[in-house]
Symmetry: C2
Subunit: 360 residues, 2 copies
């Protein structure tokens, strides 16, 4: 029972363990990767804590000090970073302390960055409680937001371990499940491992997934991410492929106003647009209808509402980090599982926007 991957990076490797009930063995698992730990600090999202903190704490002989974070992107601020660092220091954190994050992407990003800069780096353990965090907890990206934009301040800082107990996904609200599932579909589209087929065959109603199938889903999706971040730890090349669907996705999120659309809902539409672009630009033969059906089965909206101004979306896309000298670049698929980073003419992007816009 349970699955394990080892992610290789410049500093060695770290395990990702996926197993139902793992939260009840948190201390044991932390001690395995950090045998010299002098103390453990738990940085916990309030929502996740309300469901699972007692379970996690019950695994400890001496309860760790817990620092609570409010749910939501607002916690990824420099003020919250400072508060967390102060609390760590005032409660005696030293170089051999371990910072563990119990929560989703926001918690992992902030706690990981705090661990990266505390005393020039202490050990960090991820305990993801959301589906989206299967993506964000692997690959070593940590950071906070700046008034000028998201994730502008941060570090590449690998965890010592990722301890994933899929049982904690049971309390995840529908919208948050979808947000994570969009990245699962993304991983299936940019890999040649047969994962898309497996998803279509096995995951029609994800909330009914048996324990073993859910572990398998997480394992396969993380495997795609792992193979890419292992090849490109510091985002100099192929890691851009993980941006599939995100060029338009980010623009939709920002244009709608953050928090209106979830990240995953916006990325889902971004992936459909990128598949249309792949058709236009590379004559790619892609299972567009299958993917649309898969998305619809999981409650995603697959048509862009008329309320979005295409011109404004275009302008936002031009500020994407992949844009070079004002030219839009997209991750496209030459075929299923074959992503490439390709400059795309504005006219084609307008066409793709029309394709994904609602007919109503």
């Amino acid at each position: 029972m349970g699955k394990r991957l080892d992610i290789i990076n410049s500093g060695g490797s770290y395990p990702v363990e996926i197993e139902h009930g793992l939260r009840f063995r948190t201390e044991e698992k932390i001690r395995q990767v950090c045998p010299d730990a002098t103390s453990v600090f738990l940085i916990a999202d309030e929502n996740a804590a309300s469901h699972y903190l007692n379970d996690v704490l019950s695994s400890f002989q001496q309860p760790p000090h817990v620092i609570f974070l409010q749910p939501g992107e607002g916690s990824k601020s420099i003020e919250e970073l400072q508060r967390v660092l102060t609390e760590l220091l005032e409660h005696g954190a030293d170089r051999k302390s371990v910072v563990a994050a119990l929560g989703g992407g926001v918690t992992g990003d902030l706690a990981g960055f705090a661990a990266a800069v505390l005393l020039r780096g202490v050990s960090f353990v991820q305990i993801p409680t959301t589906l989206l965090a299967h993506d964000s907890s692997v690959g070593g990206k940590t950071g906070i937001n700046h008034p000028s934009g998201k994730n502008l301040i941060g570090a590449f800082y690998a965890p010592a371990a990722v301890l994933y107990d899929p049982a904690m996904l049971q309390t995840l609200p529908e919208g948050e499940w979808r947000s994570g599932f969009a990245e699962v579909i993304k991983h299936s589209l940019i890999s040649r491992s047969g994962f898309l087929e497996w998803l279509s065959d096995n995951v029609n109603n994800p909330r009914d997934l048996q324990d073993e199938a859910l572990e398998e889903l997480l394992y396969r999706s993380i495997q795609v991410k792992a193979s890419i971040v292992e090849e490109d730890e510091f985002e100099a090349g192929v890691r851009a492929y993980l941006n599939f669907g995100h060029t338009l996705g980010h623009a939709i999120e920002a244009e709608a106003g953050y928090g209106t659309w979830t990240h995953g809902e916006a990325v889902a539409l971004g992936m459909l647009a990128a598949m249309h672009l792949s058709r236009f630009k590379l004559q790619a033969d892609l299972p567009l209808e299958n993917v649309k059906e898969l998305l619809e089965n999981h409650g995603f909206q697959t048509a862009l509402p008329h309320s979005f101004d295409h011109q404004k979306l275009l302008e936002r896309m031009k500020r994407d980090k992949k844009t070079e000298a004002g030219n839009l670049r997209f991750v496209l698929l030459r075929e299923l599982g074959m992503p490439e980073l390709i400059p795309v003419e504005t006219e084609l992007v307008k066409e793709a926007l029309k394709e994904v816009t609602s007919d109503d």
Copy 2:
């Protein structure tokens, strides 16, 4: 003319160039190590800028944006970090921007940390303007202070290059020269390269040093530091040897009130105490009188004033990061150039304090 070392680290290597007049070639030198740079940002200490900013700027075809820092430890705050990051982002810094630090240790530490966390890391170039910065600019330690203590927040982040123009040391105040020279002497004591002998023979009045001799001094001192940080980039072992003289030194600085004694003046006394301890504990045969003379020739105080309370110094030393389970540990010398990290009984430390206390 000029000297060059290449420091090997986990990410590859970076050059330290030492040459009179190098500041007039700043842009050329930055382009050599960062050929893809989209823009350069200069973070400059106001004092250093008042003397040398025009010279540095004259080397650029397009003047870089300059962010000024007030001199002094107060600039190593999270608020200043935030101000610098905001100014970088608002002036269009991107992943291929270069952050260059013109100043001493404070400027290098803050600018280096800003570079480390901006967009998860942009290139960083050190342009030291003090003697003390020959030490701090090499080895990749960056960081800021926290109300709980100095350098508690930071990162190991190697520069792309260190561009050292010793001509800029001409305007350094006497006290700041001494502060750096204590680290030069420290390097001579923990190395077996004959550097102490060279110093005694060649450097009686450092302000009269000819260009070539000053380059040689910097080269030799950096070489000692480089060999240690190459062996122990992330401070897991031998890097502790660089702490020679600092256990008591830090206690004196803190006890006197920061800014009363310079770091170097305090470390000088710390080194003398550590040499006495090496005598007591390891029966080491050390050139104590030579070192004392060398220090006195350079205007250092070599006796601890009676005003210091030995008990309070001891308590501060117990909070040193080398202390384990309440036991003091010192870097001692088994012989010249042979440092070791050794637990020392409190009674012996008291004896050493008596030895270095003024007879008056």
